[in-house]
């Protein structure tokens, strides 16, 4: 292959300015800066594109699930609502709480063990009592829960709002007025 003749470059034959930056150097730097800016903008755009839609996408509008009349749930009993992904637990004192299936350790689904009156997680054997309080680690937090509303003697669970908690407190329960 033949070598191309060198292009005619005017600034090379001219004088170098006092500060040592030729016009060509200057444009080189401008191009570089623009390039970096464009790369950053693109990266920023992709990041926001990726993250902004993800966590909101599945937020559901307020959704009440009717569990049934108050009297159908005995004291100190637990009923599974797999469709709503919760257990409706009625405490000894009559208070209701809707406990999420999701173990607070690493997210497996807990199940109710009637003979021992406790929730157990099959994955790493965490255990929780009927209020969702931790009985056995590795789980470190009480189970999440959904707010319970009682209207005209009917128990309803707001399955669109999942509530997190460190430990069980009395005010998480709902009572019949």
């Amino acid at each position: 292959m033949q070598k191309k003749p060198p292009r005619h470059l005017p600034e090379e034959s001219g004088q170098v300015p006092a500060n040592g930056i030729t016009r060509r150097d200057f444009f080189g730097m401008v191009w570089k800066a623009l390039g970096i800016l464009a790369a950053l903008e693109t990266a920023g755009m992709i990041t926001t594109y990726f993250f902004s839609g993800k966590s909101k996408k599945l937020q559901t509008p307020k959704q009440l699930l009717e569990a049934g009349p108050v009297d159908s749930f005995g004291m100190n009993s637990v009923n599974a609502f797999m469709g709503g992904r919760f257990y409706l637990a009625r405490q000894l004192d009559g208070g209701f709480i809707a406990i999420s299936l999701r173990c607070t350790h690493l997210g497996c689904s807990i199940s109710w063990e009637e003979s021992k009156k406790r929730f157990i997680c099959p994955c790493h054997s965490s255990a929780f009592d009927i209020s969702g309080e931790v009985l056995n680690p590795p789980a470190a937090r009480a189970l999440d829960y959904y707010p319970v509303i009682i209207e005209n003697g009917i128990v309803k669970v707001d399955i669109s709002t999942l509530k997190e908690r460190k430990t069980f407190r009395k005010d998480q329960l709902t009572y019949v007025q």
């Binding site: 990726f50 993250f51 993800k54 966590s55 996408k57 599945l58 797999m82 992904r85 299936l101 999701r102 173990c103 350790h105 690493l106 997210g107 497996c108 689904s109 807990i110 199940s111 997680c121 099959p122 994955c123 790493h124 054997s125 680690p137 590795p138 470190a140 999942l162």
Partner: protein, 420 residues
């Protein structure tokens, strides 16, 4: 085709470089497996449907109705397993022949990055069948991310597109697995090869006299061909004999007992049995990765020279450390599982301290003691000492992984493999 392939090679190489025990051909094998993954992956994509309702059924259809469907899936599965194993062995080989200094520094870092990408590629592929195994393994693994400080929970929800696994998760993983990662891997692997050529081929000991140069065609190319054929035969054999796992369709209401992480995360999973998640899944793995990336920047007076394990002393100290680390890790697992559980022992203190800072500092003190002992007892060079630390960590990692895969049964209790 032939010229592209030959283009990756120089015209002539040193006769020394041809010895099989220099590299065991591991890098080349990994590249071949990536090609195999891409071909079988494309074939699978013709049948796979990436929605929770259809994904599982499409795999069942593939297995039962498509000629060679099961076989193609098995090849994809087994070459994925082999790829991870061989890339890991390649990484060990590069370390132990000292091929990570000076001009090779950049390639060491890129190699680490490629290894992480291969893990991520395996991980994203794990979910796609949407069976019980996939669903719960990915649930548990992604929940670990939620324990990272500050941004952990939002990162987890961005990755899986919601609070729990859903259609968005599957779409995310599918896109990573079949678009983002293959492109990245191809580009990075080509660059990785090109850099090896640029520094003048594989790492070799300083020769006494000028080595004889011989043409790659046919000397090297012929050898590569044989290695490739043997590897392919092995993968096909596995694919013919052992089916890729497929359990029942995912059921979000029912967790499996035990639910295990994918096998390459079994080491982290085992750590989770002993440490608070923040330490097990974040501090310790990050520490190891930073250590690995940092190795070539350490200022040794003596440079590793292309000899396996640097020297006879280096080899001896590596062996002794491997045995020691293995024994200590097993003892630690048994000790923590049966005798002392810090979380139960110290109920008043936050789990982060009782089950995190306390056992971790005990471990670090122990390792520092071992390091000091070696420093005093034997006159190891800096490079040989780093090698001792490296061996310690790698053996511990391997032992943890094996424990997690084979010795954890129902309720994640320790058992023997044949009782599982």
């Amino acid at each position: 085709m032939r010229s592209i392939f030959l283009h990756l090679h120089p015209l002539k190489i040193s006769e020394q470089a041809l010895r099989f025990d220099r590299t065991f051909g591991l890098g080349g094998m990994a590249a071949l497996l990536i090609v195999l993954q891409i071909i079988t992956g494309i074939l699978l994509r013709f049948y796979y449907i990436s929605s929770p309702a259809e994904a599982y059924n499409s795999i069942v259809f593939l297995k039962e109705q498509v000629l060679f469907g099961q076989f193609v899936r098995n090849i994809h599965y087994w070459s994925g397993v082999f790829l991870l194993l061989i890339a890991f062995l390649h990484f060990l080989r590069v370390f132990f022949t000292g091929a990570y200094r000076n001009a090779r520094l950049v390639n060491w870092l890129f190699g680490l990055f490629i290894l992480l990408l291969i893990v991520f590629a395996n991980f994203t592929g794990y979910l796609l069948p949407w069976d019980q195994l996939a669903y719960w393994a990915i649930t548990v693994s992604t929940n670990i991310i939620g324990y990272l400080p500050v941004f952990g929970e939002s990162l987890r929800q961005a990755l899986i597109g919601g609070r729990e696994l859903n259609a968005g998760t599957l779409q995310n993983f599918f896109t990573f697995h079949t678009a983002v990662l293959p492109f990245l891997l191809i580009a990075l692997v080509l660059y990785h090869f090109w850099r090896v050529r640029k520094v003048g081929g594989i790492m070799l000991p300083e020769p006494a006299e000028k080595p004889e140069m011989i043409p790659v065609m046919p000397n090297l190319v012929f050898k590569e061909f044989i290695v490739a054929l043997v590897l392919l035969a092995l993968v096909f054999l596995f694919a013919a004999l052992f089916n890729a796992p497929l359990l029942d369709k995912a059921n979000p209401a029912y967790s499996m007992n035990p639910t295990k992480a994918p096998w390459y995360f079994a080491g982290v999973q085992e750590l989770l049995m002993h440490f608070h998640p923040f330490f097990a899944a974040f501090i310790i793995p990050l520490g190891v990765i930073v250590f690995l990336a940092w190795i070539p920047f350490l200022n040794f007076k003596d440079t590793p020279n292309g000899h396996w394990f640097i020297s006879a002393l280096g080899k001896q100290s590596s062996k002794a450390t491997a045995i020691f680390s293995g024994v200590v890790t097993v003892a630690g697992i048994l000790f923590n599982a049966t005798i002392v559980n810090f979380e139960i022992l110290l109920p008043g203190i936050p789990a982060m301290i009782s089950n995190g800072i306390i056992p971790l500092s005990m471990l670090l003190l122990f390792m520092a003691g071992y390091y000091r002992f070696y420093l005093k007892r034997f006159s190891l060079s800096a490079a040989e000492l780093v090698q001792v630390v490296f061996v310690f960590i790698m053996v511990a990692f391997i032992v943890l992984t094996i424990t997690g895969i084979f010795f954890r049964g129902k309720d994640m209790e320790l058992t023997l493999p044949w009782l599982m």
